[in-house]
Assembly symmetry: C2
Homo-oligomer: 345 residues x 2
Amino acid sequence: MDHIPERKTVDIILDDFLAGKKHIAERTRVAHLLELFADFLANGERIRTALTVLGWQAAGGHGDSDRVARVAAALEMFHAFALIHDDLMDESDTRRGRPTLHRALAERAEPGRAEHSGNKFALLLGDLAFTWSDELLHTADLTAQQLRAVLPLIVEMRSEVLAGQYLDLRAAGELTDDVDATMSVNRYKTAKYTVERPLHIGAALAGAGPEAMAGFSAYALPLGEASRLRDDLLGVYGDVGDTGKSHLDDLRSGKNTTLLALALRAARPAQAARLRTLLGDPLLDETGAAEVRAVCTATGARRTVERMIDDRRRQALRALDTAPFDAGATTALKDLAHTATRRSA
Amino acid sequence: MDHIPERKTVDIILDDFLAGKKHIAERTRVAHLLELFADFLANGERIRTALTVLGWQAAGGHGDSDRVARVAAALEMFHAFALIHDDLMDESDTRRGRPTLHRALAERAEPGRAEHSGNKFALLLGDLAFTWSDELLHTADLTAQQLRAVLPLIVEMRSEVLAGQYLDLRAAGELTDDVDATMSVNRYKTAKYTVERPLHIGAALAGAGPEAMAGFSAYALPLGEASRLRDDLLGVYGDVGDTGKSHLDDLRSGKNTTLLALALRAARPAQAARLRTLLGDPLLDETGAAEVRAVCTATGARRTVERMIDDRRRQALRALDTAPFDAGATTALKDLAHTATRRSA
């Protein structure tokens, strides 16, 4: 996979781009905000970068990958927007083991209205990231044909993640045993947004046709679902070292997951009542978390989720057998199907 | 000006566009949000529409104006985003004489966390409007040349309004006598964002060259500044019927304006102390407002702002004398220079 630009290439594009904003930042005395933002952006996992490049390569892209890297940078920038606004809407305190942007900004604000101040500047930085993502895209020097292929996918991707976020918000604060509803959020926010669309966008840059596009979907959707289900398990059974965040966070915020919906559905009344008491309790401690784990295991929810993950991984791998993809990229996509679904992160 | 698509054309595009989102809205049970949003959007003034079309026509555009109307619709959609997020950041209760979107959403939310609920759904609807603005733009069927001309202007426009909002936020809550700072916000949020860029974008669709672009700037920047200064005056001296919002709102929120900065700068210590007591007081009443007016008049701030408006209107009109614009559009631009700066709204 010698054509794959490393994470470094995309990081350099993002650094250069933000450096180009410094003069405005200084003129508007916004430099400290920009530094915080750069820091947030630098801390990303670059999953979209890897998938955009893999999609491009799998669809036969080769040679100069500058445009691909620039489009990947645009996706990373968009993702920074999505995370910043998600954290605001979810009132999350931590992200990737560090304070979320609105919390970091609140810490730097003058006391009194620090929380509102953190929220409003985070909102604005999110908006800027959205704008900048467009700017990166529009300056990627794409051909007219590439633009025509990529822009509708970008529009779809954005609508999908916002629809997923809407479903997520709607469900928040109210524990559900509606497994389909949790799988719907999973599909929009992870399977489509994180896996399918970056592959599609990379493939579109290489001029992929409908057959290849369908192949990517057949691989990406089950894999994305499996990966999110794996994260749901890690959120309850994993330890902080695996996930970069305490599993207490998700449990305390009463986040709906497929695992918990399955547990609630299969629980006896007494177990269900305990789950409803424990989940969403902002003071939940390790003893409470252990009790949640015990119910998830006893109800068979854990086992069901593990089986769902295995089924979906197999489905994703099978899709690769018939897809018309480049051999090197296929190997990489297979590897990814394993690493994204294995039991520890 | 028979080529100018009416407001109605753009409204139809926006209605059709939102109707196209209905199936997603129903699938995600978001229909009531979409209705509120459609209502908000329908209530817009369509200043950008008029200016985009005028820019196009002034630069020699003629014939089929469908693409122009669609780009204008994209700008209106973007503006809906900007207003929704501005109102959130400013914690405003009213907009165009009606509850702001986050307040309207909070009213419909279940009690308990209604405020947060209103805020988060308004944030998300703002994000959707941003995405939809891109979608309208990307489906406007622009030629490759039009896209190349328009996209960088859109990117600039977005960065400028966010920079203006940042300056506005930074200044909020702390009364300033820094006249330059207030004029800077004015320039970004009104002169460039509301007047110059829509004209530029319309002109770019007609293939305008650098000379015409410079002509639009020479007209738009002083006119935009004058129009905002007029609004500052109306915010203190106008009545509700003129502005659609109570002038008490701006005074109570302690909004920095050039008028108040001039008054503070020219005030005697006792007057300045009164202004600092009255402005930003959430309980300010009509008696207090009358006192603010008296100080603005006594310090000569009102007179200075009126002179600034007159100077800028003259400058804008002068710019039209030498600009290489279509005669019919020039007449319309002259009319606009008068209506946008006259003493009652």
